[in-house]
């Protein structure tokens, strides 16, 4: 039986999540302690900034859930009332569905984000290293990775960016193709501009110039990018060199005007220029957009793209949920089959024992035959036993994949007296 106990950004405030996250970080042997809980067999502990979850294979649902909740509450130092509000718990099929949705990023704060799968894989790797998982959770995690991979490849859930800075990177790629060797000019030393600059650099852009009203601040940010600092007076000269401009100053007037760009157009040899204006009020004159080979996007334009992409993700999420359901059904079938496996093994073991005992009893008269005939008799006996067992084993497998096999497993165990 599988249980999942946890909390996430939807059920717990950041303060509570922080406490539990920090508690788990401090606790070096979380997995060992969880395994020492009575009735907990296999266990996996997932801890990210948005969620903390424990997935376990247990003998008794009720007791295990209570123990796991208490463990988490104690780790984060939560009161019983706090714990009651923020923890959720899932059992069997629901737990499987939840972990598949988590790995596929359907339960993330930003649906379709790619980081979560890596975090789930890391958690599994840690559990594997400490031998905390077995047949049930190993299969569960591999199936969750397959579900996540299918969601990623068969739907467009993670295709379009849903953050302003990534939208700017995508636009830059639509203009320049590859960003390798492209020069960036950051006007103003705002956080948003810095983040967008970082994304552009990580996508291949080289050479960052930071222009700011106060040169000292420009130098500070330029140092982070190993770039160069410039004052706003040198802006028109710097505009000649660069391909991408990100502006985010707090200036009340336009800093980059259409006239300014028109004048340097020839010096720029008509190269394509991508302007991102994320300042409020705007830094770049909107008329610049009508200039040839100049592409201007302000914060609203970028937000519109993000909103549109978010809608696409929501539509794709419907298809993703269907994929998750298919994978859940596959896993649950396997799990049901697993319930009948010990019975099938016991059944075969018992018949083998009977055959062995009877063959030993008949050893006296069997020895009167030659070697070849002795083998024929042995083969005949084994063949009869296999034929007799074929139907019950096949039915056990079939029934267990169709519905809950407990009744039929119990019947077989009783009929063949497998429990002694």
């Amino acid at each position: 039986m599988i249980v999942l106990v946890g909390l996430n950004h939807k059920t717990a405030s950041i303060a509570v999540r922080e406490k539990i996250f920090a508690g788990c970080q401090e606790e070096k042997d979380v997995l060992a302690r969880l395994r020492s809980l009575n009735g907990v067999g296999e266990v996996l502990h997932l801890s990210t900034c948005n969620r903390v979850e424990i997935i376990a294979s247990v003998e008794d649902h009720g007791k295990a859930v209570k123990d796991l909740r208490d463990f988490m509450a104690a780790t984060g130092g939560l009161t019983e009332a706090q714990a009651a509000d923020c923890f959720y718990e899932y059992r069997d099929e629901e737990a499987v569905r939840h972990i598949f949705r988590v790995a596929s990023s359907l339960d993330s704060m930003v649906m379709g984000e790619t980081q979560i799968l890596g975090q789930v894989k890391d958690a599994y790797r840690r559990a594997l290293a400490q031998y905390a998982t077995g047949v049930v959770l190993n299969r569960l995690m591999h199936c969750s990775f397959r579900a996540a991979k299918r969601v990623r490849t068969e739907t467009a859930i993670a295709v379009n960016p849903v953050s302003v800075s990534y939208a700017a990177v995508e636009l830059a790629k639509k203009i320049f193709g590859s960003l390798n060797g492209k020069k960036i000019l950051l006007i103003g030393a705002g956080e948003m501009a810095e983040l967008t600059g970082m994304h552009l650099v990580s996508n291949g852009a080289e050479g960052v110039i930071v222009a700011n009203r106060t040169l000292a601040q420009a130098e500070l940010l330029a140092e982070k990018f190993h770039g160069e600092a410039a004052s706003l007076d040198a802006l028109d000269k710097k505009l000649i060199e660069v391909d991408i401009v990100i502006s985010s100053t707090g200036a009340p007037d336009f800093i980059v005007t259409a006239d300014m760009l028109k004048k340097i157009h020839h010096q720029r040899k008509n190269r394509l220029l991508f302007l991102v204006d994320i300042a409020m009020p705007r830094d770049i004159e909107p008329a610049a957009s009508s200039l040839e080979n100049v592409y201007l996007y302000n914060i609203d334009d970028l937000q519109d793209i993000v909103d549109e992409n978010m809608n696409v993700r929501k539509k794709e999420a419907i298809r993703a949920e269907m994929i998750v359901e298919e994978e859940v059904a596959r896993y649950v079938n396997w799990q049901k089959e697993l319930e009948s496996v010990p019975t099938i093994i016991s059944l075969r073991g018992k018949t083998e024992e009977i055959v062995k005992a009877e063959m030993e009893r008949a050893a006296g008269w069997i020895r009167s035959f030659n070697k070849e005939d002795q083998e024929k008799i042995e083969n005949l006996v084994n063949s009869i036993v296999n034929k007799v067992l074929h139907s019950p084993v096949a039915v056990l497998k079939e029934e267990s994949s169709e519905f809950n096999s407990r009744d039929i497993v119990a019947a077989v165990r009783r009929l063949f007296r497998l429990d002694g």
Binding site: K173, F176, G177, N270, R271, E292, I305
Partner: protein
């Protein structure tokens, strides 16, 4: 099976492949799936392969390029355009360009299919290696210009989408502006010298065999006009530094102008090139 039969079969197979790839490319634009364009590129590559075999067999059959039939000339145009496009794919991977160039390739194939297979195109006095060089290079040069113009047309569409702040499926499907500008540049850079040598070969031949009067031939005037237009485009790009939107616009305008003037010359005037 005779060589002529085999040649016909190869032509038919390449015709079908060409039709399927054109449909695939157009469908990829319609449903906005790049995978379809990729598959179409493979189909067009197969069409190109069969057409290459077809043309090789023709050359063997007729012992050289100098007396090809009118169908072969038109399929040579299709072969040249698809060859240039596929070669560019190795460099730029801009599959959707195929949606713009493949209809032209298919039109050449339709025109070729409508021609009499056995008919020899060139009069006996024009069947020289110089006319073969002239024909091959001018066709390749024109194919490169068609491609430059297609890239220009795609640039204009992508520019319009980006200027109107629409990062939609179509915009995502089309190549980046830089890639399209690069294709335009490469095609002009290669197309102009290839066309120049082709025209020069034609001029040398005309000077020696027709001697006088050929300079005022409408088709030759049209070719010169095309040569000068593309030459000036290349000049503007290399010397003046035109690029991006303006270059794309002028390339398209030049192509439409030349297409219209070719049509009027072909159907309204009697020229020394009446056999084409």
């Amino acid at each position: 099976m005779t060589l002529i039969n085999l040649e016909m079969i190869l032509f038919k197979i390449s015709f079908i492949f060409c039709a399927v790839s054109t449909a695939g490319y157009l469908l990829s634009l319609l449903v906005k799936k790049i995978k379809l364009a990729k598959i179409s590129t493979w189909i067009l590559s197969a069409a190109f392969g069969f057409l290459t075999l077809n043309l090789l067999l023709t050359v063997i059959n007729f012992s050289g390029l100098v007396n090809l039939g009118s169908r072969n000339i038109l399929s040579l145009c299709a072969w040249s355009a698809s060859g240039v496009y596929l070669a560019l794919q190795f460099k730029t991977k801009t599959r959707t360009l195929g949606a713009f160039i493949s209809p032209f390739i298919f039109l050449f194939m339709i025109a070729a299919a409508g021609q009499d297979a056995g008919k020899t195109l060139l009069p006996a006095n024009l069947q020289t290696w110089l006319t073969a060089v002239h024909m091959l290079l001018t066709i390749t040069g024109e194919a490169l210009f068609i491609l430059a113009s297609c890239a220009g047309a795609m640039f204009i569409i992508q520019d319009g989408l980006l200027k109107s702040k629409k990062l939609n499926k179509m915009s995502r499907l089309l190549p980046s502006l830089s890639d399209l500008d690069r294709i335009n540049h490469i095609c002009l850079l290669w197309g102009f010298p290839v066309l120049s040598v082709g025209v020069l070969a034609g001029m040398i031949f005309a000077e020696f065999s027709w001697q006088a009067g050929w300079l005022t031939d409408p088709k030759i005037i049209w070719t010169f006009a095309g040569w000068i237009i593309y030459g000036s485009l290349l000049h503007q790009r290399l010397a003046i530094g035109w690029r991006g939107y303006r270059m794309a616009l002028v390339s398209c305008a030049a192509f439409i102008l030349l297409l219209l003037s070719y049509g009027s010359v072909r159907f309204c005037f009697s020229t020394l090139h009446n056999f084409i």
